[in-house]
Symmetry: D2
Subunit: 359 residues, 4 copies
């Protein structure tokens, strides 16, 4: 308790402000906060939408529809116990500095996810802003333990990217258990179009995306690539290399990540399954499906759950793991809330939906 | 309290059984029950799927995935405080009789919705099974008051049809306030394909419905027609006649009902708006949008909310009201739970989501 | 022949230029022209996209992918036998004047559709630019004959709006035959999102529209309203009034128009069906489906066909007609080519697909 | 000419019969035949739908809507110059034997695709029915030349599977040119739901598939796996091994195949691009996109085109090639017609659309 004064906060309601509340990620944070029993929603801010009501942008958030969006600055956000930043890359560092150490800052952007400054600079082309605790509690660490331990009592959190969440959770058990080889991982992932954000772009119009699948960021250039490698390397205890190809799918939400790795010599189907079962048996949100059933993104829509399945292809000696997540929940806003719960000393699952919206 | 012994039930957890849990309506009831703080989920039953686990049919319902479906009979359902029937038409009456008066029976089928036996027989071609209290609490009644009053303490409830819910709530304010004429209402409504149920049919395959709109049951033959007329007639205090055309939309959930009625002589735009505002100002789930904004089904996905808007077309003298509901929530399972809450003396909104899943 | 010197043009290939080729309507004109045996594709122009290759905007048009878009001006378009204008409202009049009378100008915008200047000014808020022959050949005229006759040899054509095409063709037979009353027509129509054009708007993003139905332009304010009334009035020989509500459907293409009118006294189901059968028996593109089958937009995707069905609702005394068209083909580009064929003296169906792309 | 007596057939119209015309593949063959200038559509047959009109199953095929489907037997199909079989696996061999050598039989099922009986037996669990010429004309063969040569004048054709078409065309250039290694190819492909056929199944209902991505046949068990390996091995001249994971995408049509192979030592980005450019420079249907643009399934909808792009990921040493095809056209019916054209001595592209239906 002495180390983590945050914990006392749970005696009263926690006030959470959201910067970037009119975007998809920010609005989804609001949606989850409305269902969180220990939270009150504080200031909501926006960029060009400041001054308008949230209901103009997110009419589904009925209880907050009349809330007027403030400007995104430290003054507006001051007074909250927690500030969730759902802003473009580059904005979180300066703003967090202004907010001070007394506030829990949860950053949904990429700025503070990567440990290796060189990886940051290679993929983002700017100076590295420093590393914050990476809010993927379920991540197995090579030396034993989980990433969860780094989050309890933290005052800064870096929310993982949506693709890395799916890809890392999909393959980490095999890396940690040694049934998968770290070299030559291949991942192809499909994302719903909300992953591209709420900015108006011709290529993301409904008429363009409905009925169509297409790849983008092909050839190892997508910015989530080093983050996937970082997470899997932490699980493997050795450098993992990943060929990562994202694709755009004609659906509003969801990520389906198909991740394959070479099976380690001697790895059997039962050893593979056991690695995944052991890894997630006690995890509230990561669910290994019964044998023979494969994940569907629909089943996790709106929920913080991860549905997983794994198979060993003995013909070619590859393990194939498939994960479904909601890119806006476990892939963003749910991870923010889950990390916040841990940082505040609240039960980790508080306010987080486990059941998806299907059909 | 003496009149409604059910009310004492709220002291302890209410056990709710669901018959037909592997269908879309039944699974949705289960989804809502999992979020209801005063409920435990009792027996779950099915027809041809009896003996299998619910997770095979509804993998999104993680906490119930291992529940084995029982046969749909009184013996299996006995012991529950509440039984929700999500069964084909014709099954509820005999089953309710076997269950006895000690159980609250909530019927999601059409059997007990219509007051007029002739209307039943004309549209369903079988003998009328009797009328149960109609679980549309927000329905304005011509003489004053609302349908809500008929539900408190009831032991039998007829859940409204999905289309009638949207159509009746859309136009009832104008009928009750006298700003709309009862003759010659015209409604065209679009439904997501889950409205057709979970039976395998070629015409409902994804490849058939994606990218396509089509009407069905055209020409006044859809079975929801007399139910729409019944609800609006109760609001108007006079017989209302309705031309009703349902259409199938390429989306899994949601109903958008566009309902028009002749404006009464002298009705002004402000009088029209006032009628709708007054009707729903205190309703927790029915939300008249601010002027200039129109409902989208996406904004009510997964929620029990109704989004509404209304306009007066002075050129042609018609009032146009548009309602969006989730056909599986406010259109079925949410209405079942809302009615159950009222019948049991629980706060009406308990366990019912107000916020939709968008985008 | 002397009256229509255009007709000689069919001896050689007709060169057709397209202004606005990077938009949905313009690109669709290009698509059809590529399949037209008597046409060569001339200059292609754009606004802000001028200077880029068509393939950047419309990669499906492989044979034209390397064509560089020119600026939209008379100089660039000069030399073509036919110029199709797929431009925003207001641009066609001045450009047509510059192009001169020697060129067939086919305008896909609204500028020259309306006969009544007052209707134009009320709905568009600008001065009326004059009326051009309305390219809806199948439109029955009250005095006998069809609109087709006004198109042969024309040098200016106004392409009908997409909604009016569907709505007018749906109900015109009943109006012309006198089995429908002209007063109090009610139409609700659903359109695919390409109808909103290719400009980037947040509300038209895939994540906003997938899974959602919503209305817009409600209350008699949509600009296509007077055009629907004009067409039906021409069929009826009397003023027709229409309550028109457009809705946005989660599909890229297609319009489904559900149009209802009061049945005339004494009109029988067989008289109704006969009116529709007689109206379209010899029309190559308008197809009345066999009894009991209803149109689906999917079945006309990419084709110039109109699928129709009609029913008499004797309970309420309304005729309900439903039409499916592809908004970009029969609703825009196909009508442009069909009108061009007539104006040039080519067989009317030349180069126009009759078969849709389903599933 | 003497070697290929079929060639004389092109003097007159070729009569083509289609067995299985009410399914998606068979109906698509009919759609293409309607646009083929040298073909008349002969007998159309079905299984359980025999006796009904084609319009009940495929209302988009207007010119054939009144055609009554006959039973699928040799007697009904006799008299045609060409018979296309769109039947379940196992049916083509016996039927072809009955039809005799005078008829060109084009089999859209898998029966005669595989060269290796052991591969057939391992994946299909039945006796191998023999190998027919594989109708993938563009396939590069290791020794030089293309598969096209095997098709000219053939009397039996095996239409490739939809996934193999996309996967093999995607990577064959790298295999043939030696810039890719044959071991450890990884492919993840997404298919529209028409790929599952037109049989009614709960899992393929619109409500199940809309908004959802899911894998199936994971772990090397999908039956198209050996066919992908066969095609790539023929290009490489060495055995190619493939990890193949198919996924179901929420769209009616289209396949997007993301295929990766280890780059050969020393392979440069320019050598990789040159291999693909050289392979397809003269192919009418396979189109390598300009650098920086990636395929979208929408752009090939309804067309026989293949859109391709390739990149070298130098970080991990993998070539990533992505192909988009329409599973029902180039993936099935278009390949059948293209092969038929070659077998008959017609120009290969006759009657085959190159332009897709977008948006």
């Amino acid at each position: 308790m002495h180390d983590h004064p945050w914990v006392c906060m749970v005696m009263h309601m926690v006030q959470v402000a959201v910067a970037g509340a009119s975007g998809y990620a920010g609005a989804e944070v609001c949606r989850l906060l409305l269902g969180h029993p220990d939270v009150t929603v504080g200031a909501l801010t926006a960029g060009s939408s400041a001054g308008s009501a949230l209901g103009e942008h997110a009419p589904h958030l009925l209880p907050l529809a009349d809330r007027v969006l403030g400007p995104t600055d430290a003054e507006t956000l001051a007074g909250a116990d927690v500030v969730v930043l759902a802003l473009p890359h580059g904005a979180s560092g300066p703003l967090a500095a202004e907010l001070g150490d007394g506030v829990l800052v949860v950053d949904a952007a990429a700025d503070h996810r990567l440990v290796d400054p060189a990886a940051w600079e290679a993929f983002y082309g700017s100076d590295h802003a420093g590393t914050w605790p990476y809010a993927l509690p379920e991540l197995l660490l090579a030396g034993g333990g989980r990433q969860r331990d780094a989050l309890v009592g933290a005052r800064r959190l870096a929310v993982p990217g949506c693709y890395p969440t799916a890809c890392v959770l999909a393959l980490a058990p095999g890396m940690a258990a040694g049934v998968c080889e770290p070299e030559d991982v291949v991942v192809v992932a499909a994302s719903g179009t909300s992953g591209a954000g709420r900015a108006a772009k011709v290529g993301m119009l409904g008429a363009e995306v409905m009925g169509s699948m297409s790849p983008y960021g092909v050839g190892g250039v997508h910015r989530h690539t080093p983050e996937v490698e970082q997470g899997l390397s932490q699980a493997a205890g050795r450098p993992v290399t990943v060929s990562f190809t994202p694709t755009l799918a004609p659906m509003p939400r969801g990520i389906l990540a198909t991740a394959t790795a070479h099976a380690a010599p001697g790895a059997t189907a039962s050893a593979v399954r056991a690695a995944w079962e052991d890894a997630y048996a006690d995890e509230p949100f990561v669910h290994l499906l019964p044998p023979g059933r494969w994940p569907r993104t629909k089943d996790v829509a709106g929920s913080n759950a991860v549905h997983l399945q794994v198979a060993l292809d003995e013909r070619v000696g590859r393990v194939v793991a498939v994960a479904a997540v909601d890119n806006l929940v476990k892939g963003t806003a749910g991870a923010a809330v889950q990390g916040m719960n841990l940082a505040l000393g609240l039960p980790e699952s508080t306010g987080l939906p486990l059941v998806g919206l299907a059909p």
